[in-house]
Symmetry: C2
């Protein structure tokens, strides 16, 4: 198995290091990751400035690695089209992110966008996140990612799909199983902190807090609340079929 | 009708100006848009640096407008949470983008991400793009956006949905109608141009060209190829239901 690992927390993130150490024992492993944190970048790619990649060292590991000035999606492009020198990966992994990527997070998530770019290259791809922001336990998440990568190699994934994995921040013995979930409605409520700089000008910090929504059964956040690993199959087709049908009756017209 | 207009080409883009001029005659119109081009930003939000907004003038218009250092999604947050001073918009419009946003473009598109952010605030939202990169004709697109905004106000949109509109670059009399479409498989094939800078170091330009795919009936690109306006209902739930069902049989396990 040949894997390409990226993330959005940056190449020196402990979550990425944990994933690399687990995979390099069993797979031909490459890392192409942003040199700095690129959280909440969405599925951005860099068209307006030159991209650069320089060799990097992953602590305690001997894998080939590059740090780039790009987004997670840029990293996947750089890896597949140039840095891996034609060695097409069997799996793209993005993570391990510190903090969950669930519900409405998905459209913003740099971690998920790395896996999306893998899927666009038709490489089976997995985004992996830990469901807590503090004192993350990476072992279970890294081992489960390996288990899932092997399952994907055996069974394949349909075109234009990827897997979004969230692992509860618990020791292995406390994890209550695995749930194949749907993306839930959990979201952050955006908030602006308006401040004044020393020169008297206004600026804003964009922040947010989780909306107080109940966990709906079968969703990603419901699985995590139960101490289960959440695996959400994600597709690249964003069409809303129900609304499409309803709109046929709208009789829209070209204005005269 | 109160509208908030943003885009990803930047506040001085002719496509935005055309939209503003059409709407200000009939609606209370506000503009919050990036000061520079922010194409291919995906659904990025800015969490790691301060956001700033300064008053701006839209040529030939008297609407209130602000230019920001943020992404299209940041602009919508700034507008709704602060700049509009509590005047919640009835509709968020993003565009008019010069160049289509179809198929796989959608996950990368800054134009679409502005409308996505509107939908996250539960404001009915529309992304509008012109199907050509040169000599864009904005009139039909702007007038159709107005028609569609009025239809939405009358009928409403379901939560967590938005509309992605692509208008053929044709004079009004040559447009062959309106099609309610699904997101098609059209995509760009990424390509890297590897160069050497004057100091002898490698850098890359990320570029791409359209994949030579046939237009499938009922898709966004099929409608445009027929000279029709494409309206694609988009949802924020990315779950792939079919794969979710199939994966129940995978019997994934927590590694021992």
């Amino acid at each position: 198995m040949r894997v390409l690992i990226t993330n959005d927390d940056g190449i020196s993130s402990p979550g990425l290091v944990a994933l690399v150490r687990t995979f390099e024992a069993a797979a031909e492993t490459y890392v192409v990751a942003p040199e700095h944190e690129r959280s909440a970048t969405g599925h951005a790619i860099t068209l307006h400035k030159p991209l650069r990649a320089h060799p990097a060292v992953i602590p305690g590991s001997s894998v080939r690695a590059w740090a780039t000035n790009g987004t997670p999606a840029d990293c996947v492009v750089l890896g597949i089209l140039d840095l891996l020198e034609g060695r097409r990966p069997d799996v793209v992994l993005s993570g391990i992110n510190v903090g969950p990527n669930m519900g409405r997070d998905l459209t913003y998530s740099g971690t998920v966008s790395g896996a999306m770019e893998g899927a666009i290259f038709r490489v089976p791809s997995i985004a992996v996140s830990i469901g807590a922001f503090r004192n993350p336990i990476f072992t279970v998440a890294a081992e489960f990612a390996m288990h899932l990568a092997r399952a994907i190699l055996e069974r394949g994934l349909p075109d234009d799909t990827l897997l979004n994995v969230n692992v509860p921040n618990l020791p292995k013995e406390e994890i209550g199983g695995i749930a194949i979930t749907r993306q839930g409605p959990k979201r952050y409520v955006s908030r602006l902190e308006k401040r004044t700089d020393p020169r008297g000008r206004t600026y804003y910090w964009l922040t947010g807090e989780p909306a107080p929504l109940p966990d709906e059964e079968g969703t990603d956040s419901w699985a995590l609340a139960q101490g289960r690993i959440s695996v959400t199959p994600i597709g690249l087709d964003l069409t809303d079929g129900g609304l499409r049908e309803a709109m046929e009756a709208w009789e829209l017209q070209i204005p005269r």
